[in-house]
Amino acid sequence: MKLLLVCSGGMSSAIVVKAIEKEAVKTSLAVEVKSVASGAFADEVKNGWDIALVAPQVRHRFDFFQEAAAEANVPVIVIPPQGYNPLGGAIILAEVKKVLG
């Protein structure tokens, strides 16, 4: 499963990437997770991701991200705020599973 995270500068999402990877190891789930800054999203989302996750603090740019993701047929969701922290991996993976089944 390939997850692409986007936040403002790609800094905070890097922390959340770690949280997701940790949770994935715990539940023996094979994931590839990457984080990008807002400006790099439109180009990166074309590179074969299963789902794009928008950090809650940039949710006001959701339409912009969705437009870019739609061109690549990638579903987009906003990460629930309570999951966007170093201990929130489980919450995020649960949301991802809701979309990807």
């Binding site: 936040c7 403002s8 500068g9 800094m11 905070s12 922390i15 959340v16 807002s38 400006g39 950090a55 809650p56 603090q57 940039v58 949710r59 006001h60 740019r61 912009f64 705020p81 309570q82 999951g83 966007y84 922290n85 170093p86 201990l87 929130g88």
Partner: protein
């Protein structure tokens, strides 16, 4: 309090986010951000030329002129670099060719300057016209150029290339007619009618720049950024779209004064907020993380351990969304009034000359005391002020954190001793 958050959500948030996502402002934001590596590395040479240690300063003094060259050609030409990027991003936002947008923007901007003739050395452009002080001219010219490009494209004012011409060649011809409109237009205005675009734009934006450097000018961004973060929106990125050009002009004036060995004029370029107010991230949350390390609630304690390193690097999303501070009526009070208090204190400390004014841009992920030291060109009193500010905000957070902790324990939400599992 919930009413208050609802009001924010209904009025302030949609207004501010729509403003910051406005196409031209977005291009300005992305364009300026793309020049930050040049500004950071460039201003590093300014520290090299004027090191904070007197002993070193004496050694490098004879070479200061040479050391400053990379600074002058990066930071000193900032508006030129930014103009190209703004043109690029604006063109991309219209799904036009980004490179054409960038080149046309740059040409329009350069044309607003008149070369000066030197008898034996040829012609020279005043670098002053291409630096941060001319940022608003660069922005307006980039917008003008790309709007012409768009106008030409949507009205089919392009030169059609026959089939088989490579795409890159065809694209360069797409910009031909827009260039033929842009170049003569600015030439007529600037050189024929003798209208000084730089002077005019500078006068036009001067009130904004002056206002940005007042006490109100620091409090307005502090309050709006904090209110946005209190609802979990990236306040700095939103407000920065509007305020960053002003901060850059203030920074440019400071840096020019520093390079000329004159007193630093402005208090409020962006490093003021970065190092003295947003210590640990917006809301000055490093102090909150520090006092949470001693929390009785295991949940808060484990959250603070996980947030400490990011917090030292001024990344505080873990605190905002983890604790959470977002939509938290108890923590909202110190989250707002902490930054206001230390903002006012820092403003007056710099106004009275107790601490040097910031003029160097260093990467925002440095720990605040180091960042503050470097940003002020090596003033140890800046470190002291940062520590004082951390203490003040810690004292403000403390009673509210205790109240929040009691609430968590009462609700049975204080958590198990999770962190032991590691």
């Amino acid at each position: 309090m919930h009413k208050f958050f609802e009001l924010l959500d209904k009025y302030l948030i949609p207004f501010m986010t729509r403003l910051s996502e406005q196409r031209h402002l977005r291009a300005v934001r992305d364009g300026i951000i793309s020049t930050i590596p040049l500004i950071i590395v460039g201003s590093f040479f300014l520290i090299l030329a004027f090191p904070p240690v007197p002993f070193l300063a004496a050694i490098v003094k004879p070479y200061a002129g040479q050391i400053l060259i990379p600074f002058r050609l990066t930071m000193g030409l900032m508006a030129l670099y930014a103009c190209h990027s703004i043109g690029y991003y604006l063109a991309k936002s219209y799904k036009l060719d980004g490179v054409s947008g960038g080149i046309l923007a740059m040409a329009a901007f350069v044309l607003t300057s008149v070369p000066v003739a030197y008898s034996d050395k040829g012609q020279a452009l005043l670098m002053e016209n291409l630096g941060g002080g001319s940022m608003f001219v660069a922005i307006l010219m980039a917008i003008f150029a790309v709007e012409v490009l768009r106008f030409a494209k949507s009205n089919k004012l392009t030169i059609k290339m026959p089939e088989g011409v490579p795409e890159s060649v065809a694209k360069s011809f797409e910009a031909l007619i827009p260039a033929a409109i842009i170049i003569p237009t600015i030439w007529v205005i600037r050189d024929f009618l003798g209208f000084d675009i730089h002077h005019f734009v500078l006068q036009l934006f001067q009130p904004l720049v002056l206002a940005g450097n007042t006490l109100a000018g620091i409090l307005v961004p502090i309050i709006i950024i904090t209110l946005l973060w209190a609802t979990g929106i990236h306040g700095d990125s939103v407000v920065g779209s509007v305020a960053r050009p002003i901060w850059l002009v203030l920074l440019d004036q400071n840096i020019a004064a520093a390079a000329a060995g004159q007193p630093i004029p402005n208090i409020a370029p962006e490093p003021f907020f970065q190092w003295f107010v947003w210590i640990g991230g917006s809301g000055a949350t490093l102090s909150l993380v520090l006092i949470m390390l001693f929390s009785k609630a295991p949940y808060l304690k484990s959250m603070s351990k996980a947030s400490l390193l990011p917090g030292i690097c001024n990344i505080n999303e873990p605190v905002i969304f983890g604790v959470p501070v977002m939509l938290n009526p108890l923590l909202f009070v110190p989250f707002l009034f902490g930054p206001i208090t230390i903002g006012i204190l820092t403003y007056f400390a710099m106004d009275m000359g107790l601490v040097s004014k910031p003029y160097i841009l260093v990467p925002w992920t440095l720990p605040a005391p180091i960042g503050a030291y470097l940003a002020t060109g090596g003033d140890w009193r800046a470190i002291l002020l940062v520590l004082v500010n951390i203490t003040i905000t810690a004292a403000l957070y403390y009673p509210f954190l205790k109240a929040y902790e009691r609430k968590l324990i009462r609700e049975g939400a204080a958590g198990e001793l999770e962190e032991e599992k590691k």
